[in-house]
């Protein structure tokens, strides 16, 4: 049995949707962070599967998988900075819940 492109794209779309709702609905910063990573990985999955299924003998479509490496690197940089900010904020406020971080307002 072969798995088609649509199956991959469905999984990718589902992962992305889970990520979006996680970011919008969750209150814990760390969980929001995981949801963001989920969104990026959904993108990676879609990139790889598009590049696999669109490849022809003329075009190997390798820029998709190369792009995945760039995305992984960027995501790692983002996590490093993000966790540093969360730690610094936790030291200051003793909380990482978005609803309690409300110093900035009108």
């Amino acid at each position: 049995m072969t798995v088609g492109l649509n199956a991959f794209l469905t999984v990718s779309g589902l992962l992305f949707a889970i990520g979006v709702f996680g970011v919008l609905l969750r209150r814990n910063t760390l969980v929001i962070y995981m949801s963001l990573e989920l969104m990026l990985n959904a993108v990676n999955l879609a990139l790889v599967s598009f590049s696999r299924y669109n490849a022809t003998p003329d075009h190997s479509m390798m820029d998709g998988p190369v792009f995945v490496f760039f995305i992984i690197t960027v995501a790692a940089a983002e996590v490093a900075v993000g966790l540093a900010i969360i730690v610094a904020l936790y030291r200051k406020r003793q909380t990482i819940f978005v609803s309690e971080l409300n110093a900035l307002k009108n």
Binding site: L9, F16, G19, V23, T29, I32, Y33, L36, M39, L40, A42, V43, A46, L47, F50, S51, N54, T56, D58, H59, S60, M61, D63, G64, V66, F67, F70, I71, V74, A77, E78, V81, G82, I85, I86, A88, L89, K92, R93, L101, A103, L104, K105, N106
Partner: protein, 509 residues
């Protein structure tokens, strides 16, 4: 194997490293600063700041000389289609260099007063600037994304740079979450375009759909493909976050309020300009065939953005939030220029001109705010500017001219910028949008003049207790007050001169 090698060597022929020399030198300068901080003895650390400023001035001047002598004659690509060299790209590179110079100056002043580390600040600003300069020339989605993320990750750190301040950290976290969210949306859009553009069963598909030129010809062949439309909308959502257009503007007031003043200025000017140059590249390149969909969509966004920004700013007392909200309104006017550029090609250059006037006025205002004393800057309100005219007439005049330019008062540069965009919109026949924009300008005069009133016409009974600010002179630098006066004077002079004489930038139009 050998023909693979032949392909690679052919690709490598297109690498023209000289053309990205400014970016490379910025990166080298940034690394050099870190090395010098480790190796130089404590008492000679002032040298680092001078080197940073001097290096940027040299790069800027060399850039001006080279682009005016051997400017880009015809648009051409290099690095196998990763970069596109154009006059507009070169102008925007100089724009970003100018921004980084001003931000380094403000940042030095800000950090030395608050005892924050300075070298890392300048390092980050230089890296972000190099990213922005590459962004202005991008011609490929991979390069665009990587450059954009260099900028964004740098900004995460810069926004939360004041580690002792709760405001700054919280703004950093908010910017981080929303920024990463918008990057993911942008990426998903890119992937959809990549998937559609590489599909061998569709007409016009190619083996390299990340390339803007190839993607453009694919979109022209399939303007109604659902994947193409969805991908375009998602990519534009990601860009809308950068420029702060409705509905992705929620982060702006909070982040502007919490970030240190120099970073707020950098965000307001350079990050927004980065978003606009990407938008110009996209709508004049690959997305041009989608005019039928994009004009109503961007037009609606422009109307909402202008109204949201101006109505929000009307009752705002916190100056940094006020600058943020009025900046949203300015993004709306510039979006109007982008919408017009589908019909009137020079409208895109009018947007670039507008960005220059916005840079001059905004940096003058943020420079004055930076000079307002050591209070927690997230809490600075209009009341703090009471009677500034008597306490510090020079700063008050700079502030008034900057605000006047942002409001679009006739002899100043901001007026010309607005006028050009409005003429373009009129020629493109966007009368409804134009009406909303004029209403927005009228509203903006109300709150900008409210600020000027505080500065000039506050009936003061109390004596000005003390002279404006305490100026701790930076290590080994010329006394901060004088250099700051000169910078503010130059910005104000630029605003005045550009109002009367646009020759310096007229080759854009």
């Amino acid at each position: 194997m050998n023909d693979r090698l032949a392909i690679y060597s052919e690709m490598a022929q297109e690498n023209s490293w000289l053309s990205i020399l400014p970016e490379i030198s910025l990166g080298v300068l940034a690394l050099l600063l870190l090395v010098l901080e480790m190796t130089l003895p404590k008492e000679r650390q002032g040298l680092i700041l001078r080197l940073a400023l001097f290096g940027q001035v040299v790069i800027l001047l060399a850039g001006v000389v080279f682009s005016s002598l051997f400017g880009v004659a015809t648009e051409h690509t290099s690095f196998n289609g990763l970069l596109m060299h154009s006059v507009r790209g070169d102008v925007m590179r100089l724009f970003f260099l100018l921004c980084s110079l001003l931000v380094c100056h403000l940042g030095h002043q800000y950090a030395s007063r608050r005892g924050l580390p300075q070298v890392e600040f300048i390092h980050l600003v230089l890296i972000v600037t190099a990213g922005l300069m590459l962004l202005a020339q991008s011609h490929n989605f991979i390069l665009l994304f990587v450059a954009l993320e260099t900028v964004t990750v740098g900004f995460y750190i810069l926004v939360s740079y004041s580690r002792g301040s709760l405001y700054s950290l919280e703004a950093g976290l908010k910017y981080l979450i929303l920024g990463a969210f918008s990057s993911a949306i942008l990426l998903f859009g890119i992937v959809l375009l990549y998937g559609a553009g590489g599909n061998p069963q569709l007409p016009g598909s190619s083996g390299d759909p990340m390339n803007f030129a190839l993607l453009g010809s694919f979109i022209e062949a399939n303007p109604d493909n659902i994947l193409v439309l969805a991908g375009t909308v998602l990519v534009l959502c990601g860009v809308a976050f950068k420029i702060g257009a409705v509905p992705f503007q929620i982060w702006i007031p909070d982040v502007y309020q919490g970030a240190p003043i120099p970073v707020t200025a950098f965000l307001a000017v350079a990050s927004k300009a980065g978003g606009f140059i990407v938008l110009i590249i996209l709508v004049q390149g690959p997305f041009a065939p989608l005019e039928r969909v994009l004009v109503p969509m961007l037009g609606a966004i422009a109307i909402l953005t202008i109204l949201f920004g101006n109505l929000g700013a009307l009752s705002q007392k916190n100056v940094k939030r006020l600058m943020g909200l009025s900046g949203i309104a300015h993004a709306g006017y510039m979006l109007l220029g982008i919408v017009a550029s589908f019909q009137v090609p020079w409208a895109a250059n009018a947007v670039v001109f507008y960005l220059f006037t916005y840079l001059l006025a905004s940096f003058a205002i943020f420079g004055v705010m930076n000079n307002m004393g050591p209070l927690e800057d997230g809490d600075m309100t209009l009341d703090d500017f009471k009677d500034l005219a008597r306490k510090n007439p020079y700063n008050a005049a700079v502030l008034a001219i900057g605000l006047g330019s942002l409001a679009g008062i006739p002899p100043l540069a901001g007026f010309i910028g607005k006028l050009l965009i409005f003429i373009a919109a009129f020629k493109a026949g966007l009368y409804g949008l134009l009406g909303v924009a004029v209403i927005g300008v009228v509203l903006s005069i109300y709150y900008y003049f409210g600020w000027i009133l505080e500065v000039y016409f506050w009936p003061s009974l109390v004596k000005a207790e003390s002279e404006e600010t305490i100026e701790p002179s930076g290590p080994g630098l010329i006394p901060a007050a004088n250099s700051h006066r000169i910078v503010l004077g130059c910005l104000t002079a630029g605003t005045l001169i550009l109002g009367f004489y646009q020759g310096a930038l007229s080759y854009l139009l």
